[in-house]
Amino acid sequence: MNYAISIVLATAILFVPSITAQHARQDAWLSLLLAGAFGALVTYIAVRLALRFPGETVVQYTPRVLGPVLGKLVGFIYVYYYLFVAYFVQREFSELINAAYLSRTPMIVIICVLTLLAVYVLYQGLEVLCRVNTVVLWSMIGAIFLIIMLGIKEVRLEAFLPILENGPGPVILGAVTPGSWFGETTVILMLMPFILATDQPRMVKFNLLAVLVLFLVLEMIVVAAVGQFGAAQAATKLFPTLSLARHVDIPALPIFSRQDAVFMAFWVAGMLFKLTTFFYAGTLGLAQWLNLKDYRPLILPLAVVITALSFQAWVDITELKSFSGEVFPFAISFVQFILTGLILGVAVIRGIRPQPGKGGEV
C-alpha cells in the first residue's frame, strides 16, 4: 500500500492542485472526488489484471493474451509508459529545484544527482526501494499534514462558494488530471510477481486503500490552497504545495515560518522514490521484453536515455506545465485505463490463465 501511495503522491502534489483549480476554480475539491472515483476504478482494473497472472508481469503475459505481434507491441507501450513517467519525474524535479532554489545550477547536474541515486537503488534491487519508502512516505505525509495544520486557521470557507457556479463541466474537466495521476497505481502490473503469495489476495483492498489515502492528502492540499490563496490565486501558482509551505506563519511561533526546506527534503526523497519505481518497472519490463535474464545491464544505458529524453521533451516550464494538464493525463490514461482494461477484457473473454507452474510464484 505504501508503495502505491508514494509513487503517485510526489508528482501529484506538485502541479495537480493548480491545474485542477484552473478548470474547476472554487469547486476543485469536487473535482478531486470525481478523480478519486475514477482512480479507484482504474486501480481496481489493474489489480484484477495483475492478480489474474500473479506470477508474471504485464510484459510477459500480453503476448499470450493479445497474440505475439500485438502483444509485443502493447508490451513495448507499457515499457515506454514506465520510462515516460520516469523522465517526466526527472524533468519536474529539476524544474522545481531550478525555479525555487538553485536558479544558476545547470539542470543536468540536478537531474544527474537524482538519477545516479536512482541507478544505485536499482542495482540494489526492489527490497531496498521498499524499505526506504516506508520511512520516506510517512515522513512526507507527516510533513504535508503539518503544513496543512499550521495553515488551517487561514483557510476561509467562503472561498469555496458559490458551488458549481458554471455547472458540472469545469468540475469534470478539473478531474481529468488528478484522475489520471491516481491511475499511476497501475505500476502494480510490473510489481505483482514480487509480492508474497500470501499477501496477493489482499492487494485489491490495499491498493484501493492507497487511492483513498492519496485522495485524502490531495484533497487536503487543494482545500488548503484554495482556502488560503483564493481560487484565482491558487490557479496561478506554479507550485501550489510549495507556496503553501512558504505561506505558514504563526506570529506567536515564528519557528514555524520559513520551514519550507523541511518539506522540500521529504519531497525530494519522494521524487527519488517515484523516479526509482518507474525506472525500475521500465528497466525490468524492457529486459523481459527482450527476454534477457537480468535487467541490471540495462540500468545505465536506460538512465542515459531517459535523462536525454527529459531534456529534449519539453522546452521550458510553461510547456511542461501545460503538457501535464493537457497531454500527460490522456497519454497515461490511455495505458492505465484503456490498454489495461483491454488486456483484462480479452484475457477474460479468451479465458487465458497463467501458465501452469507460474501462478503465485515469487
Binding site: A99, A100, Y101, L102, S103, R104, T105, P106, V109, E158, L161, P162, E165, Q228, F229, G230, A232, Q233, T236, S243, R246, H247, V248, D249, P251, S257, R258
Partner: protein, 410 residues
C-alpha cells in the same frame, strides 16, 4: 557492495576527489556574510514612467552591542544602523539590479517584510509593479505587509526610530501591536493579491504617515539626546479601485471595515456613559463579522452582522454602579450601537469612493452566482446603490478590578 582491496581504494580516492571538488560550493551558493538583507522596500513614481525603488538594508557592523544603535542626529554615532539604497528603473526588477551598482553586497529579499507604495504611484496603478512581488521566489508573500504612504518614502524610511535599530523594524513592531487598536489595516502581500484577484472585492491596505513629533518641544533641553523632529504613525486604511488608489479611510472607518471583514482581534470603542455624564471606553477582546446579502424585489440588501463581541470595561469617566446588572446591559447595548455605526461609516465611505473594500460584490457572488453574472460587469455602478445595514451584538464580560468607581466627596 563487496570488492577487493584495490577497488575499494580506488573508490575511496574517487570519493575524496568528488567531495574535495565540491567543497567550493555550487553555482547557487549564497553566503550569509555576502548578503545585504533588505528589510523594507518602498516604491515611488519617478519621471518618464519609471519607478523609484528604495531598499532599506541594516548595516551589520552597527548592529549588536549596547548603545551602538542610537542614530538620533547629533549623537556620537558616526555610522547609521542602516543604509537606504535608491535607484530608478523602468521596472521594479530593473531598479533592483540598478541597486547592485551601489550596494556592496548582493541584496537579498527573503527577509523583506514591508512593501510600501507611495500614494502617487498607487494613483497611477500598481498592477505592473505587483507582478514582481507575486512572481519572485525570494519574497515571502505571507511575511510581507503592504502599506501606502502619502509621504515621500525617502523621508518615511529615514525617520529616526529611537527604540528600534532601523525604521523598518519600528514599522514592523507597530504592526505587531495592531490588535491594541484595530485603527489601521494590516494586510499581507498574500492577502492583498488575493483581494485584487477576487471578483467583487476591492483591495485595501494599511497607511503609514510621517508626523511632526509632538514630544519634541518638551525635550529640547536634554542636550545629549535631542528628540527627532519627525515621527511615524500607522493609521487608517487606503482603499483601492482595481489597482488604483481610491481614497483613505479614517481610523474609525478602518475599525468598521475590519469588523465587516471579520479581521478584528482587538481595538477599543468609546460610548457615552449610561450614568448620563462622561464617557466609557471599552477594550474589545474579540468578535466575528459576517456579511449576509439579500435580493428583495430587485433591490440589493446587505446586512453586516457582528456577533460574539466580547469587551472589557477599561475606563469610565464618571462612576458606574455595576452592582446592578442592568447598567452593564445598557452598556452592552451602547457598544453594539457604536459598532454598528462604525461599520456603517466604513460602508458609506467605501460607497462614496466606489471601492468595494468590504467585499459586498464577493458576498453576492457567493450567494447569488446566477444574478451576479448579470451584475458583475456593472458592479462599480451598482455598488454605491446597495443598501447596507449593520446589526451588532455585544457583551461586556469583564469590568476590571472594581465594581463601582470612587465617588469624590464634595
Amino acid at each position: 557492495m563487496a570488492g577487493n582491496g584495490r577497488t575499494r581504494f580506488c573508490l575511496f580516492i574517487i570519493a575524496l576527489l568528488v567531495i574535495g571538488g565540491s567543497m567550493g560550493g555550487c553555482w547557487d551558493k549564497k553566503e550569509a556574510e555576502d548578503l545585504g538583507y533588505v528589510r523594507a522596500t518602498a516604491l515611488n513614481s519617478a519621471p518618464d514612467g519609471k519607478v523609484h525603488l528604495l531598499a532599506q538594508v541594516p548595516n551589520p557592523a552597527t548592529l549588536g552591542g549596547a548603545g551602538t544603535a542610537r542614530i538620533t542626529p547629533g549623537a556620537s554615532q558616526d555610522a547609521k544602523a542602516y543604509r537606504n539604497f535608491e535607484a530608478e528603473g523602468s521596472t521594479v526588477f530593473e531598479a533592483i539590479r540598478q541597486l547592485a551598482l551601489q550596494a556592496p553586497r548582493r541584496l537579498f529579499w527573503a527577509q523583506n517584510t514591508l512593501v510600501i507604495f507611495s500614494e502617487g504611484l498607487t494613483r497611477q496603478g500598481i498592477a505592473p509593479h505587483l507582478d514582481f512581488f507575486e512572481r519572485s521566489m525570494e519574497i515571502r508573500r505571507r511575511l510581507n505587509h503592504v502599506l501606502v504612504t502619502p509621504n515621500d518614502p525617502r523621508v518615511l524610511l529615514d525617520v529616526p526610530a529611537p527604540h528600534e535599530t532601523i525604521p523598518a523594524g519600528r514599522i514592523e513592531r507597530i504592526i505587531d501591536q495592531e490588535q491594541q487598536t484595530s485603527r489601521f489595516a494590516i494586510v499581507t502581500l498574500s492577502a492583498f493579491l488575493r483581494m485584487l484577484s477576487t471578483e467583487g472585492q476591492d483591495a485595501y491596505c494599511g497607511v503609514v504617515r510621517v508626523r511632526n513629533n509632538p514630544a519634541r518641544p518638551a525635550l529640547v533641553q536634554q542636550a545629549n539626546a535631542p528628540e527627532p523632529t519627525l515621527t511615524i504613525e500607522l493609521s487608517g486604511a487606503a482603499a483601492f479601485r482595481g489597482d488604483r488608489f481610491a481614497g483613505y479611510l479614517t481610523e474609525r472607518e478602518t475599525q468598521g471595515l475590519q469588523w465587516a471583514r471579520n479581521e478584528i482581534r482587538g481595538g477599543f470603542v468609546t460610548v457615552p456613559s449610561p450614568s448620563g455624564s462622561g464617557r466609557v471606553t471599552l477594550d474589545i477582546l474579540r468578535g466575528k463579522g459576517r456579511m449576509i446579502p439579500a435580493i428583495q424585489d430587485g433591490r440589493l440588501l446587505v446586512t453586516i452582522e457582528i456577533t460574539g463581541v466580547v469587551a472589557e470595561l477599561a475606563q469610565a469617566e464618571a462612576p458606574l454602579d455595576l452592582t446592578r446588572p442592568e447598567v452593564l446591559h445598557t452598556l452592552d447595548h451602547a457598544l453594539a450601537r457604536e459598532i454598528e455605526q462604525e461599520v456603517i461609516a466604513a460602508a458609506n465611505k467605501s460607497q462614496d469612493l466606489g471601492a468595494d473594500v468590504l467585499g459586498v460584490g464577493a458576498a453576492f457572488h457567493r450567494k447569488f452566482p446566477r444574478e451576479w453574472r448579470e451584475m458583475k460587469d456593472n458592479w462599480p455602478e451598482i455598488f454605491p446603490t446597495v443598501e447596507i445595514t449593520a446589526r451588532a451584538e455585544a457583551t461586556i464580560h469583564r469590568t476590571g478590578f472594581i465594581q463601582k468607581g470612587i465617588t469624590i466627596k464634595d
